[in-house]
Structures are given as C-alpha cells and as structure tokens.
Symmetry: C2
Subunit: 406 residues, 2 copies
C-alpha cells in the first residue's frame, strides 16, 4: 500500500466543523486504499493566543517553557482529529512529536529535525490505523525536553515524515488553491501553477511567497518527495512541487516581500576583511541577512547595503554602528520603507534577456530600483514599498504570466 | 530544607492576573526557605471547553484520545506558572505527569496512581528550582500512553507527590476558606473548622462536601501527610486535615448531596444470594452503589433500595430490571427526587444519643426519612430533595455547630 502524508494548517482545523470536514477527506483517502499519516497544526489562532498569555505573565518567557506551552496547541487538534476520524468508523491514533519519534536538536523555539524514529507510526499503520501526528514539535535526542520547530514547522514535520516513511506524496492542505504566478489579491489574473520545480519553489519561498516555507521544500528536494499544495476547502487539484516538471516555463512567477528593511553603512574603507568584520557579528547575533550590495569603490571607500527582517533592524543597526566606528566608516542608515519584488523561473538560465526586460518594465512604470540581486533562476529588486503592488502587476504583465482570457 | 507541596485549582489559575498572584505566593514560600513543588489544574473552564470540543466531533470520544486532549489543559497552566515565577527572578521548571514520573494503571479517564518515580523532580529541587507539576495526569508503566486520573485528580497528584517526596505539608488552595461545618451558602452561621481528622474528612467527602475528594484524603491518611485546605485569594489559615486533632468535637459538620438517585427493586424473594445477584452485575458495569437498604422480610419477599449517581441511574435501572426478571421479583422504581443529608463526627462513637437526636430534629421539622445508613462516625438520611436545605439547617442548629455570636 502506498503511504500518503497529509498536512492541515490552522485554518483547516479551526473549529469542530472544519475538523469534521477534514476527517471526511482523510477517511476518503484511507478508503481509497492508502495508508494515511496526517500532520496537524494548532487550531486557528491558538498559537497566537498562547503566545499572548505567555507575554501576559512574563515579558521575556523562557524558551523551554514556551515550547511546553505551545505544544499544547497541536495536542488539542491532533486528539480532536483522531476522535473525528473514529466517529466515522475508521481506526485512528494521535501521536505527539515525541511519540512519533521526531528527534530534534535542543534549540527551543527553532529546533531542527535531526532524525525520525518512526516505529510507533509504522506499527500503527501496520495495524490499519490512520496516524495523526502533531506538527511543529519534537523532542531532544535524550527524549526529555520538548522542542518546537519555529515558523513553517508543521510543513517541515509533514515533509520529513513523508521522507522517513518513503511516502508517495506529501499533501499540504492550505486555504489557497495552490502556488500562483503572483499574489491573487494583487494581480487579478494571477494563474495557479499546475507544477513547479523544487528549485523554483525554494526561490519563490525565499522571495516572500507565503504558501510554503523554504525548509519544507528543502526537505522535499533532498529526499525527492513530491509535495502537492492544495486547498482543504475544495477538491481541485493544486500545485505539484517536484523534481522534474513537464512544462518548463521560462518564468514561474512574481513574488514580493514587505517584511525587510535596508541597512546602509556609508563610506566604508575598501580593504580586504571589511565585509567579514560587518557580517560576522550579525551572524553571531542570529540576524539573517538577505541581500547584500556593495558599490564600486571611489576614493578608497564604498557603501555597503544589506537587508534584514524589519523586526531585526534595530539590533542590526546597533551592531553596524559599532562596526562602523571601529572601521572609521561613515553613518549607518536604516530604511524601513522598502520592498522586494522577485521574478523566478528556471528557464531564465537559458534566456539572457530576462534581467534587461525586468529593468525596462520597471523603468517604463517610473519605478526606481535601489538594489539588485540575482541567482541563476531569480532576479530580485529592492524598490520603494509604496510601489510594490504596481511592480508586481507590471512584471506579471510584461512576462505574460496571467490567465489567458477565454 | 523542608518540602512544601502546593496545589492550585482551576479558579486560582483562571487568567494571567491570577496566575501572577499565585506566583507571588509561591515565590514568597520559596524565599521563606522551603523547597516548593506546585501542582496546577487547567485554567478556569479549560477542561469543560475541551470536553465540549470533543463531543462536537465525536459523540462518544475514545478514552485514549480524550486523555491526549485533556492533558493539554494542565500543560498550558504549568508552563505559564513556570514563566510567571521566572519573571520574579526565581528559577522554575514545569513537568508533565509523565516527566514527573507519575506512573498509573492504563485506565484512560480514571487512572489510579501506582508509583511516583520522581527523580526529575528531586533533581530540579536540588538545583534550587521551584517545580511545577501538571495535576490530573500520568503515564502508563511503559511510559508510552498518557492517562488522566478523573475527578479530583489534581488533589490526588498533589497528595501523592507530597507522600513520595516526604513533604512536611500538602497545601490545597481553593476558592473557599477551608472546610466548614456546613455549606455556607445554605447555613448562614456555618463555621470554618481549624482542623479535622482524616477519618472525618473522608466521611464528609463521601457525603457530598465538595472541597476535597476522598481519594486525596485517603492518600493523606495512608502516608500521614497533613493537608492544609485554604483559600488562594487571602492569607487566612484554612483547615488542617490530619491524623490527630487537638480538639475532639462530637460533631464536625453536616454534609449534603443531591447527586444521587434511589433505585428500588420490589418484592424480591428473600433467599441467600439474592443481593449478590443484583450487586455483582452493577459492580461489573462500573456503577458505584452508595447506600443499600433491605427491608425486613414479609411473606418471604422484601424490597431492596440502593442509591447511585443520577447519571448512572438509567444504566442501573436496566441492570436491575434484568435481574428482577430472572429472580421473578417485582417492579423497579427509579426516584431522582431524593437527597442525602449526613452528620459526621468522630465523637459520635462515644455518644450513643446522636442518631436519636438526628431523627427527632428532622421529625420536628416534618421531614420524612426514607433511608438510613450509618458508620461509626456518620449518620446519613435520604430525604426528599426539596427539603434538603432545611434539613441541613435543622441539624446544624440541633447540634449547635454554628459560629457563636460575639
């Protein structure tokens, strides 16, 4: 029998009615002859509510207790899901991350999955049961301390379980129909993609497409597990994320991201080791730096700009100012009024004119490009935040990504 | 250093503000030089809300998943309590029932504590930490399946932990000031008892006094752990439940219970084995029978009456009717309009006139007694439910249990 892993997010299990609807779908998958493993997130806004409670009793809650607290969320949804399935006459059993053998490192709040020892899961499958596993959580290798995986953790649980169980597919159920050529709330004729490669999906996720997190796509790619992103509210096929895609479009989509700020260090002496002296302390402070741009040198000095998450901007500024003083560089500016627009497509590799076309389209709309960064399959531009929706539409049109009117 | 175990019920930890207030009390106990172990229930009505969710997805939720679900409640309150204590500069760590080594049998929903292997608790105490333990929950001896202890489970957790840790006292914090001579909502001048023996407290608890459950008193008696029942809303001393009491009052208090129904099997052939044939199948169906009364025989037949919890009355009737048919007995009546009033006091043993005084007092008020049952330190009467408050007041007055006016 083939194993299907299904993951349902918080909106899909937000109340008893939705849980019951999802249970119907799971039971149908089981009755179609599959072994089914289901990963669930916490119901609706449970996690946010628990975080709020924590901050009400402690402004800086310790990570270990925070993980104890938050793991209650999936415990509730997994037990309810198992009950709902049993109410339909199908055997089911729920397991915590710990019981499912999801071993992680000990970093509370942002643990990484190290290994899955899934004997309880496989035993239960062999006994004919549907297995429900709590997403987002694991246990340290000693099996003593509960951990959580951080953002996108439930997707990561699902894809990692699919890999460990050699599942035929990992279905990620969400509140949208799949991966789109652009955010449909911004671009009216955005088109749902039938399939997309892991590589492109990784670039889209890193560029702000919220539907899948990079870490789960990375798992899928590493273990070659096809991921089917689809809606839990209808039966439409969604988007398949997989190794090889049949149709190799030049461009897959346009993503945008308003969550970053730009930090610029002015008048930095242009000598070896300068970049290291800036980015090493940022890395040590656990600040993720996205784009880095260094202008050509003039008079032996240069400007270095980089982008970080807005909520890390103040810490980044403090570190940059300290380094700037040591290097005898100039001022440090933080600009929160920026956004990033990115064009992603595997076909870009063999079509050298893409970058030029991006710049022309933005220029024709009068949108100034402040930073540029490229990979072999992505072009990202930092622009003013108030122009970002226009930029998405301009690029979506320029590359004719939309639905062709019937 | 002496170990103090404190237990806080759902109302005491109902919201972040109350949790913070309780944390102040715990920190004060710690700073007074005690090792402190705290047992918490789920916040406010969390358990009821989770039960409601379960019934919304499955009218008959399986016990194993129900335990998975309900144990999320104490997980939330224990983590928040540990955070609140740490916010006050005192180290604290929370443990689930499983982590605290509370091993139970495998009866989901009504597990019995078998053993406490508290090495994580004692290690944490030795490291100077306040230890928070989830009440109401444990794990089966294989450490694989989570269990809950049923009604009064958090008190049982606290007293059992106090016994295992050889604590100097187990403090049960609740929303009333202690154990009273009668329910203060019914008897205006009911008096708080300063102390009461385990034996009397057991009889009061079994007779409907809700403040402590029999199982925790039983633990206290078996391991001789003094239990201090007191309010979490003020600093007043409460009621000490212990082995020997200084003042030996004749009567400790009046309890009442409206939760039972009376089942009567009429015209039962009066021959050996008849009672066994009725009460064996009831026990096998897990129905707790409280009082049993059999009238004297006339014409070789008798009536047998017994009381059971109202919510078990329908099942009890079905079993009794089946047995009655086999025995060729008469009809089975179920009467839900009854209540039980009980007088409890260790001094009763040496004062033979107590029973007579009870019947006189009730008779003088025109209250008819339908069933009587006695132990060496308790007299219980079944009466009409609509007379129960009056009966409590009548007995409270007859034995002069109230506050003496200043």
């Amino acid at each position: 029998m083939s194993i299907v892993v299904q993951k349902y997010g918080g909106t899909s299990v937000a109340d008893p009615e939705r849980i019951s609807r999802v249970a119907d779908r799971i039971v149908a998958t089981r009755r179609a002859g599959n072994d089914v493993v289901v990963v669930v997130s916490a119901m609706g806004h449970t996690t946010d509510e628990l975080i709020e409670l924590a901050h009400a009793v402690n402004p800086d809650p310790p990570g270990r207790e925070m993980d104890m607290l938050l793991t209650a969320g999936e415990r509730i949804s997994m037990a309810l899901m198992a009950m709902a399935i049993q109410a339909r006459g199908v055997e089911a059993v729920s397991f915590t991350g710990s019981q499912a053998g999801i071993l992680t490192d000990a970093s509370h709040g942002s643990a990484k999955i190290q290994e899955i020892r899934g004997t309880r899961v496989t035993d239960a499958l062999q006994a004919g049961k549907v297995v429900i596993v709590a997403g987002f959580q694991g246990v340290d290798p000693q099996g003593k301390e509960v951990t959580t995986l951080g953002r996108g953790g439930s997707d990561a649980t699902a894809v990692a379980l699919a890999a460990a169980l050699k599942a035929s597919v990992c279905e990620i159920y969400t509140d949208v129909d799949g991966v789109f050529t652009a955010d449909p709330r911004i671009v009216g004729n955005a088109r749902k993609l039938d399939e997309i490669s892991f590589e492109e999906m990784l670039e889209l996720a890193a560029s702000g497409a919220g539907v899948l997190m990079s870490r789960s796509v990375e798992f899928g790619r590493r273990f070659n597990i096809p991921i089917h992103v689809r809606s839990s509210f209808n039966d439409n096929p969604g988007t398949w994320v997989k190794e090889q895609t049949m149709e190799q479009a030049i461009i897959s989509g346009v993503a945008h991201d308003r969550s970053e700020a730009k930090v610029t260090v002015r008048h930095v002496p242009d000598r070896p080791g300068v970049a290291a002296s800036l980015f090493t302390p940022l890395a040590e402070a656990d600040i993720d730096v996205d784009m880095i741009v260094q202008n050509v040198s003039s008079d032996g000095h240069t400007d270095i700009s980089f982008t970080v998450a807005k909520d890390a901007a103040d810490r980044a500024r403090a570190i940059a100012e300290k380094v700037a003083a040591e290097l005898e560089a100039g001022e440090v500016d933080v600009d929160e009024g920026i956004a990033k627009v990115s064009l992603v497509g595997a076909g870009m590799k063999s079509h050298p004119g893409v970058a030029a076309k991006v710049f022309q389209a933005l220029a024709a709309a009068g949108i100034n490009v402040e930073m540029i960064s490229t990979s072999t399959i992505r072009i990202s531009c930092v622009i003013r935040e108030d122009r970002v929706e226009e930029a998405v539409r301009v690029l979506h049109d320029a590359f004719e990504l939309g639905e062709v009117p019937a």
